[in-house]
């Protein structure tokens, strides 16, 4: 890939960086180059390796291979402190300062001026004022950090990061919790710093912001380097397809469409039948704008969109995990209040969360207990499933889903990710749901297990279950869905069905650009 300005020597050059974790190759042969006076976007979907790369750079992880040069000097940061000393400063998504301390204390934390263990308070304040003045921020250095708006806290974090003689500033999703005006403020500062000759790495999943503020884009996919591109020269559609790990030409888009028709036998059921679940103008401030969604029995509705587009948020509203501020839900034509997951389960809904570890498994309980859990919770404490019934359910699902486990009594935490996922699917299937929401059911599991889960989705559809299928893998969505709702920037922007469900069209909708051909 052509470098932007080949004449200037790069500030940061990472070459052939690789990092393995047990069972996963997080990064392999990744190149990353940042120049002084440049805002460089680092983009990729979940699991692309962005955060691993940042952690290698900031000394959290040691790379297994590759080399890192800062201003032509080879470096190997051993810890975040070490990286800071070298001039690499990081501001994380969650402001990791101490809210109960003052602004000045936060800026000076860990490097307080003073002698013999006594703090030189006036020097501390002066320091903080200088650091903030550099960013043209006006804030009382004695104010308690926690009492300030989040955007100001974010800027204090940047001031703290730049207080050291920073050469490179890493901003890891700094805008995730900011509103539009606050984002503008942040961008103003980023532009100032660019003029001052800093290299800035900007990790985000908001494409608008990438085009607004960055000079250059590096895209990662599945831990591999896809390419480096000047922002001005890369269209949205191209960017999105690169993030999703594919080069789309028109022909290919149509070819994929043909493949889809072969894969999915089912057609959208008649529009006249009463839908299982209708959401009308369902929305929640800060999560997802009001949207309409209709889910029918015997249909797989795909929910497509980039990371942060509001897919999981929509699922959480439907399942009663988050309370909706607007709109209503009708179940089989009847208005329903789904105020908790418990209520949702009682009404025949099921939700397989994308976050297996914190929202799915009961790690120390056995495979058996994990499988029967949702059904038992639905039945209540006293209507107990007998040991024989439990055994029958377990045997059935362990065979049907080919769950590899030593015995039904093995704690689920000892199983591989794919098998844990299958146990969770079994948990929900055992409740015989009318609607099952599958949020990234194939994430982080091997190819064989993926194929099995796709077969399972097809079977559920054939059995007349309504399925809401969320996945970052766009081909998977196209392949398995009867219709596809597309989300972008927390809004529903399109609903595709039948012949419209082809890759190219979907990418256009996800990227938010008008369809160029035809």
């Amino acid at each position: 890939m052509a470098a932007v300005e080949p004449s200037t020597p790069p500030l940061l050059a990472m070459r052939g960086v690789g990092k393995k974790f047990p069972g996963v190759i997080a990064l392999s042969g990744v190149d990353f180059t940042v120049r002084a006076g440049q805002i460089h976007a680092l983009l990729g979907e979940n699991g692309a390796g962005k955060s691993t790369l940042i952690k290698v750079l900031t000394g959290v992880y040691a790379p297994d291979e590759g080399d890192i040069r800062l201003a032509s000097q080879p470096i190997r940061p051993a810890s975040p402190r070490d990286a800071e000393r070298l001039g690499i400063s990081t501001v994380y998504q969650e402001v990791n300062l101490i809210p109960t301390l003052s602004v000045a204390e936060n800026i000076g934390l860990g490097r307080q001026p003073g002698k013999f263990g006594f703090l030189n308070w006036s020097a501390l304040r002066r320091h903080a004022r200088i650091a903030l003045a550099r960013l043209e921020i006006e804030v009382d250095v004695d104010a308690e950090l926690g009492s300030l708006p989040l955007a100001i806290q974010q800027m204090v974090a940047i001031a703290r990061a730049l207080d050291l003689q920073a050469k490179l500033l890493v901003l890891d999703e700094p805008t995730a919790s900011l509103d539009e005006k606050e984002v503008d403020e942040l961008f103003k500062i980023m532009r100032q710093l660019r003029v001052a000759g800093l290299g800035i790495i900007f990790v985000t999943h908001f494409l608008d912001q990438v085009y607004e503020v960055t000079d250059c884009i590096t895209v990662l996919h599945n831990g591999e380097f896809v390419g480096e591109y000047p922002t001005a020269g890369l269209g949205r559609l191209q960017l999105v397809s690169k993030m999703l790990g594919r080069e789309v030409s028109d022909e290919e888009g149509h070819a994929a469409e043909g493949g889809r028709s072969a894969a999915v036998g089912g057609r959208p059921s008649s529009e006249t039948t009463v839908p299982l679940l209708e959401a009308c103008q369902l929305g929640r401030r800060g999560a997802v704008h009001p949207l309409d969604l209709t889910l029918r029995s015997g249909e797989v509705t795909g929910l497509a969109g980039l990371l942060g587009s509001g897919r999981t948020e929509t699922a959480r509203l439907l399942f009663g995990i988050d309370r909706a501020d607007t709109g209503e839900i009708k179940l089989r034509g009847q208005p329903m209040k789904i105020s908790s997951p418990r209520a949702a389960v009682q009404k025949g809904l099921a939700f397989c969360s994308e976050d297996r570890k914190t929202e799915g498994i009961l790690p120390n309980l056995s495979v058996r207990e994990n499988i029967i859990f949702a059904l038992q919770a639905k039945r209540g404490a006293w209507n107990t499933l007998s040991r024989a019934e439990q055994g029958r359910l377990c045997t059935h699902y362990i065979q049907a889903l080919r769950i590899k486990t030593g015995s039904p009594e093995t704690p689920i935490k000892n199983l591989s990710g794919g098998n844990q996922q299958k146990v969770l699917l079994a948990r929900w299937l055992a409740t015989q749901p009318a609607l099952i929401i599958l949020d990234e059911p194939t994430r982080g599991i091997d190819v064989g297990a993926k194929a099995e889960i796709e077969q399972l989705i097809a079977k559920l559809r054939a059995d007349g279950v309504a399925v809401l299928f969320i996945s970052s893998e766009i081909e998977e969505v196209v392949r398995n869905s009867t219709r596809i709702a597309v989300l972008r920037d927390r809004r529903k922007v399109a609903e595709l069905s039948g012949g419209e469900m082809e890759l190219h069209r979907l990418l256009h909708e996800m990227a938010g650009v008008a369809k160029t051909h035809e």
Partner: protein
């Protein structure tokens, strides 16, 4: 089929406190023959082992409730104070001449109420368990003093004092009552899905909630059960000493109960619990106390061996040390 069952028995957390108990018994056997002597006096069995069961019954019953609370990932520091409140209420009502049935119902009701307050503060108001129950731990003794008017209250009712001093089949009544309570709890928890729900809520609260469990209700229930157990303990203790003392009843008993649970192999982080383990854990603790009493260790020094024992058992239960030991053996054999 017999193979895995055999293995699961070996892995049972109840094994460690049982092993400790046997070890301590061996030590006693070596040092004093009297420890195991069992004589019959006035038709009652008498001996150190009987004392252990009788004096350990307070800790046993507290540890039963504490096991459930700890399994949900919480803790209840208020049980000692709840004992004092219940004893004060019972003694005051007895003094006013109320019937035994009313006194018992009132005592248990007060314990249930205390547990409910704790449970609601934790599950509904989402206050951290240690803070929420600390409130009642501190204020409970004040409440008990308010009930008695700041005095100790003597208990003369022979029916009431029979509970703590009576005998059944020649054995003291309290440990029999407590053992029956353990059996009932075990049946209730394991025959219904309540035990599973408690373990699930403690193992991963979010996942349990997302699977449709009313986790708040389950947690609240655990504190209510713990309050009830504290009430039983308060009744047994006051009945035993025929007195209610707002300042002294159940003092520091919450710590013994927590120790017993931990010794029994239920982790403070919540999740799996083991009632049999707790039972042995509480007995182990009492045996240690009784041993020191027998060997005339000064009471000021007594907490030290207790502490040492707890550290040893905790180390044995920790996966890290077990791995370390395992590594040591492997290296030695290599």
């Amino acid at each position: 089929m017999s193979e895995p069952r055999h293995r699961s028995w070996l892995k049972s957390p109840a094994l460690w406190p049982l092993a400790g108990l046997l070890l301590l018994a061996l030590v006693n056997l070596a040092f004093s023959k009297e420890f195991f002597s069992l004589t019959v006096r006035d038709g009652h069995y008498v001996g150190a082992m009987v004392d252990i069961f009788k004096n350990g019954s307070i800790c046993l019953v507290l540890a039963l409730g504490m096991t459930l609370v700890i399994a949900t990932g919480g803790i209840d520091l208020s049980v000692g104070s709840v004992m004092a409140i219940v004893a004060a209420v019972a003694a005051t009502l007895l003094q006013q001449g109320h019937s035994l049935a009313l006194v018992l119902v009132a005592g248990l009701g007060v314990g249930l109420l205390c547990g409910l307050v704790n449970g609601l503060l934790i599950s509904w108001a989402r206050i951290q368990p240690i803070v929420a129950t600390l409130v009642l731990m501190v204020s409970g003794r004040g409440i008990a003093q308010l009930v008695t008017g700041g005095f100790q209250v003597r208990i003369d009712d022979t029916h009431y004092t029979f509970l703590g001093n009576g005998f059944l089949f020649g054995l003291p009544l309290p440990p029999i009552l407590v053992t029956v309570l353990y059996l009932a709890a075990w049946l209730g928890l394991r025959r219904s899905a309540t035990g599973l729900f408690i373990e699930a809520a403690g193992d991963n609260e979010t996942a349990s909630r997302f699977a449709g469990l009313a986790t708040a209700r389950v947690k609240c229930l655990a504190y209510v059960a713990c309050g009830l157990c504290a009430a039983v303990a308060g009744i047994l203790a006051s009945s035993d000493i025929k007195n209610a003392n707002p300042l002294h009843d159940g003092l520091n008993m919450e710590l013994d109960a927590i120790f017993a649970v931990v010794l029994g192999g239920t982790a403070l982080s919540g999740g799996r619990f083991n009632l049999l383990g707790t039972y042995f854990g509480a007995l182990l603790l009492q045996t240690l106390t009784e041993t020191m009493y027998y060997d005339q260790v000064r009471s000021q020094v007594a907490p030290v061996p207790k502490a040492v024992l707890i550290v040893i058992v905790c180390l044995l239960q920790s996966e890290t040390t077990r791995r370390w030991f395992g590594g040591l053996f492997r290296r030695a054999s290599a």
